[in-house]
Symmetry: D2
Subunit: 438 residues, 4 copies
């Protein structure tokens, strides 16, 4: 059932041209979907045909095989010598067939499964495009089972909008179910398992004059004394967004707060990609290694977010704009509002980040998410250590010295299921690192 759903959805991203010959039709990118005990496994296939000889990749592993009329047969072998044998019949832009997996550990055991596939849109010729995307539907999960809304390519820029966390758009119209409904998913051509997706927030602008927050204090911030005093809180608080002055003020302030104005600093609460096969789609209220509801107030215009790709096309979602937010989102809601967004994407091939990363104008930032602030701190530190190893080839002793002298730790998020801690390093300090290996 979920498989057929996926197939229907993916039809949206198929090209419409149907070339005359199998060779031509075949020599492009395909998305294969296999039913594994009721769970859809998506794989990316690239094929080149030279006469009857097939080459290419299946989720990055080299394939070798043959083409006979509309029938193709090939074997993909991964680094551990596991083999996937594929037999398929071409039908225009589609193929159906059977996939036999043989583990190198158990060469006599073969798992055979039906699959179907579709040809992906071919990348338009010419320079990167700007895609205008008007979302019609919004999604409440980060999922690989949702049909891509649009296909984009590395270098492309997307101009679009996000609704607020309650599903309300720039005109005050409720368009989606509360809980951070997302714009997307964006299928990024060429992105596949083992890559990292870079999302550059080119422009992030407010597009209405109010935001909603709460007067709550998050559970993680309350000791007994605060809990007792804050027990009746949780009311909605409306903010007026004054774009001219660049501040937010309370719509209905108390006497104490009648002059209280906070600087506008538009941010995207959610930037996430679809989780890996074998992992359930996750709520747009959650966050983790796939990004998601990170609620980090430095994901602003000019910043870049880095996330691992584990599904063909990455399947990027964005949403949950805040006009401003204190660290930790202690009120459970930031200043929730709709947003006008422009972003572009890049794909870093064969890369891996143990935890989401952000680059701002001044800092490199590793974000750790975990069920406690303590464990989030561990992940942020480990993630930054990995970054310094990858990009600067530092030994652990050198990493210790850099962190001990220069680390900036902030608590980004405490209101969600996972807490978020960021470790920031100044780019100007890191530029002092000599890199003899390069």
């Amino acid at each position: 059932m979920q498989i057929s759903t996926a197939i229907t959805c993916l039809a949206l991203i198929c090209g419409s041209s149907r070339p005359a010959y199998a060779q031509t039709r075949l020599s492009r990118e395909w998305l294969l979907t296999t039913d594994v005990y009721g769970n859809p496994l998506h794989q990316r296939l690239t094929v080149s045909v030279a006469g009857k000889v097939l080459s290419g990749t299946l989720d990055g592993d080299a394939i070798a095989g043959t083409l006979s009329g509309n029938h193709l047969h090939f074997i993909a072998t991964d680094r551990r010598k596991n083999m996937t044998e594929v037999d398929a019949q071409l039908q225009g832009n589609e193929m159906v067939g059977e996939l036999t997996v043989t583990s190198s550990n158990a060469p006599g055991v073969h798992a055979k499964r039906a699959f179907s596939g579709y040809a992906l849109q071919v990348r338009p010729a010419g320079p990167p495009r700007t895609v205008e995307f008007k979302p019609e539907r919004f999604y409440n999960r980060f999922s690989a089972e949702t049909a891509p809304a649009v296909t984009i390519w590395p270098g492309d820029t997307v101009h679009t909008q996000t609704v607020d966390s309650g599903g309300v758009d720039e005109y005050g119209v409720t368009r989606a179910l509360y809980g951070n409904p997302q714009t997307g998913p964006f299928y990024v051509g060429g992105a596949e398992r083992g890559d990292v997706l870079a999302i550059h927030i080119r422009r992030l602008r407010l597009n209405r004059d109010y935001a909603d927050s709460l007067d709550a204090i998050a559970e993680r911030a309350k000791d007994s004394r605060l809990a007792t005093q804050a027990k009746d809180l949780g009311a909605r608080v409306r903010w007026r967004l004054d774009l001219d002055r660049g501040v937010a003020t309370l719509s209905d302030p108390t006497a104490h707060l009648k002059n209280f104005a906070v600087p506008l600093k538009p941010m995207l609460g959610c930037v996430g990609v679809a989780p890996d096969f074998g992992f359930a789609p996750f709520s747009t209220g959650e966050e983790g290694r796939y990004g998601g509801n990170m609620d980090f107030n430095e994901i602003t215009e000019g910043s870049t977010v880095f996330l691992n790709v584990t599904q063909p096309g990455a399947l990027l979602y964005i949403g949950d704009g805040h006009a401003a937010m204190g660290d930790g989102e202690t009120t459970e809601w930031g200043l929730e509002t709709s947003m006008d967004v422009e972003f572009s994407v890049d794909v870093i091939k064969n890369h891996f980040v143990s935890t989401p990363r952000v680059e701002t104008a001044t800092h490199y930032v590793a974000i750790g998410f975990a069920g406690s602030v303590d464990d989030a701190l561990r992940r942020a530190t480990s993630g930054m250590a990995q970054w310094l190893q990858q990009d600067y080839h530092l030994a652990m002793s050198e990493i210790a010295i850099v962190l001990g002298s220069s680390a900036e730790y902030r608590i980004a998020e405490i209101a969600d299921r996972d807490a978020g801690v960021v470790l920031k390093l100044r780019k100007d300090l890191l530029r002092q690192i000599s890199n003899p290996e390069k």
Copy 2:
């Protein structure tokens, strides 16, 4: 035993003048020490004599009584109607006597104990002084049982030095036992239980050209991956302090770090006061509600630290200067060095801070210390809420709004027994709060 020790010590702070008449001698401040099952209880007594009538305070509670020759008798009554009856004999600048405590809950039960007392130095006439203090001995505990090194008064400024955490002074001479040996304690005249001590760091300057750190990664920052990779770390790392350029560089750098320079930002790792009666002295490696080894890298020149007073004279200690330190002190040592320090003190009468506070040029900061980062976060938040209640009379709903929009959370310390989290609020934002109650 500990009592007699205390008495010997406190002799150091006695005035030397011996007026001719008991009335004159008596009308000043006294420090009483009572042995409570082997534990020294220090109390501050102020006395005024009008004829034979005594008035004044005992640890802030009003007293009433009489003077007959060298014999005085009075009763102090606290808010809960507990009574302390005192009978004493004056002997120059000393008194000895008996103290009978009667709880309002058990009026028939009386605890009678011997005490002795000494007259405090009278505050010198004239404007606040600058005291030059050359430390001869350094202390490895924050304790009420250590003799005050010098008595100062609100408004006074002290110029002194601190040795580094290993006990080494500005000349490279080891002067004290490793483990953050402290300069002090400073007895602040007039400070008593129920007050808050404000310590203004007027000047904080490096006085030698090197600092020592480690290449460690603190246990709280390591996940399994980091733990495995960092298992052989922990070596000493020497830094060269270049006061002209305002940076620290490695004395013996690796190729990668040969140009790595971090800005100097001298800070005091330790600012603490003696703990309350009934609490053990605590190690200069620890921190908590009395301050201590807070290791917060914004306790720099120009900042003010606020700590509760629970002992007569507060008994202030300072030490553990760092030339620079990343957030969290992830290397377990900052850039440890000796320091030239100038600070002044103020006493805020009848005040209470649930957690240490710091005021910097730009921010108000509440620091929470606890055994986990999660609980430290709770204490910092609760401490800031209290501050906003005390100084701005905000309701909890208003506090939630201010925090949710403007909180800045940093992780200050993860290397010590307690973790430290700071909640910072910009002073310019708080100046917008209207305060109709004032």
Copy 3:
């Protein structure tokens, strides 16, 4: 799309009898599904017809309306005076219509949505049945969007099987995707939002002679020293299950462990219900307030699990049997094996448990799940306090006394995303509590 999926699925639970008259057909239970911005909202409708007058409940709220031929119209009103107006057309065992929701806060705003509904199977006459259920498909999520596999009623007993966490059944055949694939979901007739489902584990028996575990140590259990020493662990460990002796031994033991035998104590790692509307389905590797992968080694034969119902029919899933398991599942896998299971269900109307509960032969147990052991402890304690309030009418002071003298805290689970802590109280001690309010 997800709506149509749900409708197809629910057809499986429809009765097949088609009575002649609308009144008769209507007077039973219905499951309505409404599309809320792409998210399926399931509601349970009960209807009684007296002439043209309709009465009954919609998710527990009283309804009032009329029937005219095949057209029905009614209004449901909840405690907060929110109204749901329904207009529908009967078509045999199905109905389609429109649902208009009016919030009492915003009487002028109406949300109108299409819905469709199906008549539920009528409860068979006679005493509770024993249902033999042979699972054909297994599920890797706890979800309200999965079609019920079978409908059962309070008092009914189900006899069924579970595969092991890797999807392998009692014959060694892989039947499902790894990751705790579940048997179910079981639709419990009469269960609706606001109820509590009691699941009695009547029989829990091993049905094969081996189990698989790992030699891992969970991340939450490792300090730096253990992390370093355990860095190369994670291999699969096969256990032989000796049902005669009642022990498990290693299939391929080291010299040290050649005589090491642990007592068999079969348990169900997973017992869970579908999450509420607005919450994403959750992975069968996770746990929380809906139960799920609780991995508590006292969920054994003879125990009862209590979980909140938030979806019509509760939608119960079971799986992940362990032949034995130490506290905490420190090896990440228990002794994973397939299982022969018999359980019965009861529905406690209008009840609420803040956290899952278990009753064993000797104890009442509240289980807290959270991202840290510390927070799980808080939830377990709060859950037990609620239990003592609900069933014994104790005041908080009395609860404190009972816990302080008699609490037993165990750490149940540390290997999953959430940690689990249980607070146990002996039933014989609680029987001493007098209960004058009853």
Copy 4:
């Protein structure tokens, strides 16, 4: 000052016999105390004299030197080739002299310090004794600076009493300051740095008919809901101890609890030794690697506690008896009462336990203490792994298997500064481990 204090104290443990010749006098055990920048360093010296040749140990390191009349000179060398050169003059049972320490890292640097020493009591001939110890004074710190109350030897049994946590004895008389005042310290002859002290609780009996507790709920156990509901708790609760029935009942019960009786299970809340040089004495309200206020309700009659020795004589303290206590001491006080205690001690030479251990009739128990339950769990696990390595020579993979199948985790203490988690393993299961290395 602290040095002279120590010297005075130690005089209490000196033998009174004064042999005629230096050789004879010298050939015994000595306690040396050196002033290290105001901090007393205690060392244990054993000497044998053969003619003029001296041999023996200084804190376990071999010494070699000469005796000339009353002047002795020797050098002690440790494993890292650091040398301590000693020059001293004998004066009866005392010696005074100078100690020069040369680090192998810095051979040219010598630290020279004055020390004084006293001869320890010679162990009485014959079998182990039973020592009757009537405490006159009680101590509120675990400290190496407190004079030993009595010297005992491995194998000796002590019969003594402890007062309750409020300092009240078996007759209802207040004898000490509240806060777990301790009986002791007991100087264990022969125990020195690098050993482990085993404390066998031979007999632990109630000696009065009441106990005091609170109706509090510890901060670590409260979520927001509980915090709000429990905000007015904290009152004292008196229990009647019925030794005949073996239960405790409330002295002034509510209607609900009028029949509520909990089984008596006397336990020692505090068993601790003095901390190492360089560490501050710690409060009797705290716990950690030196034991202390562990509050584990299985430290009962018949159990054995294992603690590292870091000071000559170990300096053992006991106190804080509870008539019964739920896990975690959630009420902050157990059922606090005075106790009649009999214990014996053994010394395991050259051993190390990373965390306190307990052996009960049925289990081996490792206790982890840390600022969070999460970190305490890590330490308990690491401590048990170490035990299995030391006593069973298991590889980490084997340890993982034993823990995964058989671990029992309980939360022992949540009311103190550190939380305590215990990991228990059944002794009968461990007896199955083959131990070919032995």
